[in-house]
Subunit: 284 residues, 4 copies
């Protein structure tokens, strides 16, 4: 599986023959499909598909694939993305003071659980600068408060551009990004420490304890201008009991947060996540 | 384990020596403790315990246990309940049109998963009358609407009294009980078809689908005057994906609902649930 | 989704163009694919796919689909099955004395969770005859022992033929079928009360208790001549603790057994299970 | 909860009055019980309990608690352990080449999820020496093969003595310890990468793949002379599908291994694990 691959993520109004048309495009050009999955949302009348094929032996040069596919996609009113596995995406990890998601992402990166470069960390605090240095990641301290948010977001956007970042991972960043920021840089994954939509907003573990729930969760989602309401990529839960104090919920929750965030980042980087409306299809 | 047992559920302000005092009461009277569990809520300053002992060989006659224990409990400001395993509780199952929780409870009752009598069913519909007859349970049709709610609740309370009911199980009853009803008959367990507090109110599966969650749940709780906000006894969840339509959520949810409700009813009937504030301790 | 559908389950040596070829066959004949999923087992060099399309508007009459597809499949050395959703499969449920899986299957059948007819029950005991009668299912008592196994299996096979049975579900039948029986009637799903391959053979709950495991499971699998070693369709687990005696494991296990068996039967009946070697692909 | 505590783990033949006797011992000496839990194994006729109380205000000096309790325990034929929370246990982590459990334990140690010192790492390889240095842990390379096992184990035992180690954690050590070693140093926790007793021995993920299971697991257990058969402390599982290759099982399994091992180590360090026969009670 070491041959580079191309991946198409397509959504278009449902109609007959879509599987055949898309598969033919790849087959006619000598491509070998190694993953094909599709889903029809009958209520929305939408056909959604992911096609991945090997580039070795594919007759179209990489730069011609997009225009060639566009000729097929346009008459179908299809929205689509094309990704190449040999283009390594670049991630910025944003943190605050907690290190569990950060350490976990760095460990998985070292273990090659996902392919990416992590050249940049941004934080409103200084606590994790040492970790960044330990692993050779540039660390930019951009403290944010009510008054300087606008200019600091400008600085953050500049950094993302300078480092050619494709994806921002909020690994317990604990700050709200403005709608304007999201409009300019929409590829942001956040980990929320509750089983959304339960306990939106701050202090979900305290709220969960107050409510006396028997299960807690964590949610990874794309960030939108609507707080904690973006498309959900992944969730998981763990059982708790009356014996668990708030600090136990926090401890157990950390294990959830890091694994849920990691799965979401990995699915995203493998181009397995297709967003439509406020929902995701995560192709497995 | 066939010897009848007594069970004390106690909550009182925390202080030294409580375990010793309560255990001594049983030991001094010749009782053999077969289950003892306790929990301290340090934030609330409360000590909560469950003690179960065999009545065979216990020197106090059953009718003297309560007054004797009261002499110990009062100086400690303890709230307590005393239950005897040879007093079989009587359940009324309230249903609407759906039969999955009903069938499940009846099957578990036949399989002796819990000890109780089920002499009464109440419903606002006629669909499940046949099932009641099939299993020899009296079925009372008490149709409720906005206008007749008050008088129908009076009729329901009368039935509960007439049948000497100890516990009402809302097995998908789909109607809201008035605060007044709950004040008069507080022992009511409901199954809510969501992972509370997510998706309170009606149509939780539709809301869950809309929100695009990756996990759905069900919650069994005591009913209070505050809708869907009573003390939670048990919850469980199941993973869903983009492939699941609303009807799949409903189907998967049914499996959750019946098992979550059954576990809650069983814990309650075994006197393992201690409510304090809006929380429960479920002793295992 | 009420239009009848056709479903192809195909496995064949992997090569380029398979998705396109199969999709074209359906598209060229005017079919609308509503579900397409595929999997490549790279180690085995096998391509495995499931295609389901609506028959309304499909230009080939039902009886010509198989020969037409065969013309495509043969040069590819493909093995395939063709199913029509308007052909309702017929199930025989085999039981011994325990009723939990039986009741569950009957309830799901009533709730239309799967489409099938259940005209026949076979048992080596008499205990569940009453349940069969209650739900209008023919009950045949075929007691089996070491000495009469051969002739009784002949009788069982005769019954399966007489009732035109497509699938045997061993809902806690607790008897071993001979290799000869399986050769003659291979479509048999069994529920094993352990997380296979742990605790093969008899009394798995006792063995699990002895071993002191913290989780127990159940496994639904196709029956082969190799005891408890057939292709696994579905498994699930539940957490246990030192507080659970053997009878608690049995009680908790029942909840697993019925849901695991039900999922396996449903997947099979929806033609979502493709067996190859000793493995299954369960298309979702 | 910052006051130091004492913890008793007791197992003794079941008889009347044990809860009272043990609680009285603590109460009579002015102790405040903050955790008390017990379990009766009726089949074995054994009473098992864990009692934790605050030392502040306790009238017996620490060094007199053991002899004083012994006077109570001996007539009851009780086996017991006494632990003090202000005695910090010392751990040696043994590794081979894989770093996921190691990193996880180190991160949890830093995050104060458990209280211990980690002064020593032992490995038969050199790969993780750098990690040890990074976190200031002494690293001893003790390469083991068939011929030198005996003398190398002597060296390992010497190191354990020299570093005053209380607990050895085999964090993917991948070597079998001799019965002789275990006899001399019995406090060893291992993480096995399967849902024991399924897939004992080497290469469990390959075996799980071959068998086509739908769920994989990990098991933390005390090491005994009987390979992979020691008392189980904790297990957990994760769902897999036909899409998961062996390397996916390994990747998913790593997440299990680290969390299962961490939970077991934490329970052990909090003196919550009581071993009897080949079983554990894990008091929560």
């Amino acid at each position: 599986m070491t041959s580079p691959t191309a991946t198409l993520l397509i959504s278009c109004p449902d109609q007959q023959g879509l599987v055949a048309k898309f598969a033919n495009f790849i087959y006619a050009n000598g491509g070998n499909i190694i993953h094909a999955d599709q889903h029809t949302d009958f209520a929305a009348g939408l056909f959604l598909t992911r096609l991945e094929w090997q580039l070795t032996g594919f007759n179209l040069p990489q730069e011609f694939i997009a225009p060639a596919f566009n000729a097929i996609a346009q008459p179908l009113n299809a929205k689509w993305e094309l990704h190449f596995s040999d283009t390594v995406p670049r991630i910025a990890i944003w943190v605050s003071k907690q290190d569990h998601c950060l350490f976990d992402l760095i460990w998985r990166h070292r273990a090659k659980e996902f392919t990416a470069e992590i050249p940049l960390m941004i934080s409103n605090h200084l606590q994790l600068q040492e970790v960044a240095e330990q692993f050779g990641i540039d660390y930019h301290h951009v403290p944010v408060n009510k008054d300087n948010k606008l200019e600091q977001e400008a600085k953050q956007l500049e950094l993302l551009q300078q480092y050619k970042i494709n994806l921002v991972v909020l690994a317990k960043y604990m700050q709200i990004l403005s709608a304007d920021f999201i409009a300019k840089f929409p590829q942001v994954i956040n980990i929320h420490h509750s089983f959304l939509p339960a306990f939106v907003g701050a202090n979900p573990y305290h709220k969960a304890f107050e409510r006396g729930v028997k299960i807690i969760g964590a949610t990874a989602h794309y960030v939108t201008s609507d707080l904690d309401a973006g498309p959900i990529i992944e969730q998981d839960v763990v059982r708790v009991s009356h014996r668990d104090e708030v600090e136990d919920l926090i401890r157990k929750g950390k294990d959830l947060e890091r694994v849920v965030l990691a799965r979401a980042v990995r699915s995203h980087l493998q181009n397995r996540v297709l967003v439509y409306g406020n929902r995701t299809v995560v192709f497995e």
